[in-house]
Symmetry: C2
């Protein structure tokens, strides 16, 4: 592939995010981490990913600060992969992907999972709002470039 291009230097925050989690497996690993998976073997079984690739992806996610490697709670010498605070900030990304999938990629009566409020059992909702609280869509927004230092 002649070295995939890095977007680290891109001034667009979306591009930088994709540089970190934009490859084929990373977000699926993060999804499983949100689902409570922590162990190498769990990810491997859940995703059916090749072990060498999983090794490399986990390593990258740890290096990026999205996962961290901590001793298992049960005291052994084994380690487990846990979402860091930064990793948990990917929650909106996961919810947005989920919402898009629910809306467009399932047949009307097709079986699928839903993300619900643990307290009430009701589905959660995601919305994008202006400062005054009104919902806002892509056509009502613009991207502006903030000069350095502001």
């Amino acid at each position: 592939m002649v070295a995939r291009k890095s977007l680290k230097g891109d001034y667009c925050p979306s591009a930088r995010s994709l540089d970190v989690i934009g490859d084929w497996w990373s977000l699926l690993i993060v999804r499983d981490a949100f689902d409570g998976l922590t162990r190498f073997g769990e990810f491997q079984k859940s995703l059916g990913i090749a072990k060498n690739i999983l090794t490399e992806r986990l390593r990258t996610l740890v290096a990026s600060g999205i996962l961290e490697l901590v001793p298992t709670s049960e005291g052994g010498t084994r380690m487990e992969y846990r979402l860091t605070a930064m990793g948990k900030d990917l929650f909106p990304v996961m919810v947005a992907l989920r919402q898009f999938g629910e809306r467009h990629l399932f047949a009307p009566a097709e079986e699928h999972s839903v993300l619900v409020d643990r307290a009430t059992g009701q589905p959660v909702q995601l919305d994008i709002r202006a400062q005054d609280g009104r919902a806002i869509g892509p056509d009502e927004t613009v991207i502006v470039k903030v000069p350095e230092g502001e």
Copy 2:
């Protein structure tokens, strides 16, 4: 690579979304489309992507219903790629990625772009809420499986 695994059959909506837009280039193309780019050459120049890959990705995005190929507004025979309604529903995904990048992948005073309300110039905000309106995080949610037909 022995054929990348398809997630079409996965019951998880996030996985299905990633099946459609989860590869290295697709979301970057969508980002550029949100930025107003429409022509093959514009995407090619903006992304520095190989032309054959761009051809294939655009074709896939059209086939998925995220982009559509319409005659240019200036009446020529040339075509342009535009976001469909379904494509515009990826807006929250883009905003979530952007927000994550802003928060974690830029140095404090580093230059970056910001998404603002066109009317007021104020940054937009994204939040995830329970039905009663209170903000909700990953630890207050669970994924439940909806049986077929509900």
